[in-house]
Subunit: 233 residues, 2 copies
DNA sequence: ACAAAAGTGTTTACTTTACACCCATGA
DNA sequence: TCATGGGTGTAAAGTAAACACTTTTGT
């Protein structure tokens, strides 16, 4: 850690969250956006973000931003990427660094906190406007990560209800990855063969048709397979 | 970007590089370390890093650190992860944020710049000491990334000479992933079937044995397959 | 002629894909 | 009894792993 002879940059660090959710009823992948009330980019939609406070870890700042916008019981959160602009911000006279986080929340119990002044809203990813700053780039990056994660990691179970049918799981995957990502019956057999789903022997009836079996994610069985690469798609 | 009522943290941002190289002659995966001359952790080895200067992008800082330690003609560089301590550093009175970068350089032409005071050295990953700060954690993270990258992305070609034999490529993979990562003949057929290697029809003789064909990476052919997932192992 | 390294081919087991078909329920 | 969604099975194609074998060079 040599002391540099040239002046160091002083930074204010932002955390910006790409918060996804899946509305399986309407088959839509959603992203949470807030509308800016101040310049620059006034009126534009942007990712929910915040400035990191004294004594606050990056992850804590990410959780705080999330908690300011929605109440959720279950979620998956991980760091995405750090974007650094090289020129100083005129307002603060300092440089901004944006550490982005990627979150996936359960739609059914994601209750939006809509304060008077700051519009917060789910957007279908397919109908998403141009965002402020470089947030469209961050969003695209987050979407790629989400698709990849689904293939080899059990994030879906962090966000599905505790008990779910194989069709619920399939709908979830279809909505994120697009239809034709896989044949339903092959998806079934693949997932069941992994041995990470517990059959509860309970059935659920939803309208017409044969009752579906309820499964739950078996965390112990999954932990035992931690080193083996899993393929969900 | 709401102005927060609570005091914001002021940051000094470091860039720390996990710089890997592969010595295919000795079958060793190497990482570049520097020995600390100041407290804390005086005498400990650490990842080469630097503080980000005014007007300097994160990536530029990563390249600068690299260029201060080694001269290379070819390399692969990407951002790894951002580690943020939540408590302020006593020396600077500010918080540190460490944005880590992951680099892979060609060993043959990585010429170490050894200044008088600051020892810089390649370490075999298998014989790597405990590092200063949380750098062992960062290194482990970088190693995992390297192994994953090799499986689905053509980083090896950024770091192999322009013309190489299939055995060179195999040695490279073996050294990083460990022997028994794959049978040589199966590796050959898999790589050739991808269609991203150009046969130059030139042969090279290295000691005894049948001359080997020289190949080169076919960037156009690879670009055409960009959307299809490739498997190198 | 033999060792060494490059390169080819083959056998076997497994996965993936596409699709046909049966099952259990409500209307 | 038929529509609807749940669930099983299977044939064909493709991939992976192990390994035997051939080819071309230096010594």
């Amino acid at each position: 850690m040599t002391v540099s002879p040239l002046p160091l940059a002083e930074f204010v660090v932002r955390v910006d969250n790409v918060i996804f959710s899946v509305d399986t009823d309407q088959n839509r992948l959603l992203v949470l956006l807030v509308q800016r009330q101040q310049p620059p980019f006034i009126g534009y939609w942007s990712l929910p973000g915040t400035l990191v406070r004294q004594g606050e870890s990056l992850e804590a700042a990410a959780y705080r931003t999330l908690a300011e916008k929605i109440r959720v019981s279950n979620l998956y959160l991980e760091q995405l990427y750090t974007f650094g602009e090289s020129d100083r911000n005129p307002t603060y006279g300092k440089r901004y660094l944006s550490v982005s986080y990627f979150a996936l929340v359960r739609f059914a119990d994601a209750e939006l906190i809509v304060p008077g002044e700051l519009p917060v809203q789910w957007f279908a990813l397919s109908a998403c406007p141009d965002l402020a700053f470089d947030h469209s780039k961050i969003l695209a990056y987050g979407h790629r990560r989400l698709c990849n994660k689904l293939e080899y990691s059990p994030v879906a179970f962090d966000v599905l209800p505790e008990y779910f049918t194989l069709n619920d799981l399939y709908q979830f995957y279809s909505t994120v990855l697009g239809a034709n990502f896989s044949d339903y019956s092959n998806f079934r057999s693949r997932l069941l063969k992994l041995g990470i789903l517990q059959d509860t022997h309970q059935k659920v009836i939803r309208g017409a048709g044969r009752p579906a079996t309820l499964y739950r994610f078996d965390r112990e069985a999954f932990a035992a397979l931690k080193d083996k690469p899993l393929v969900f798609v």
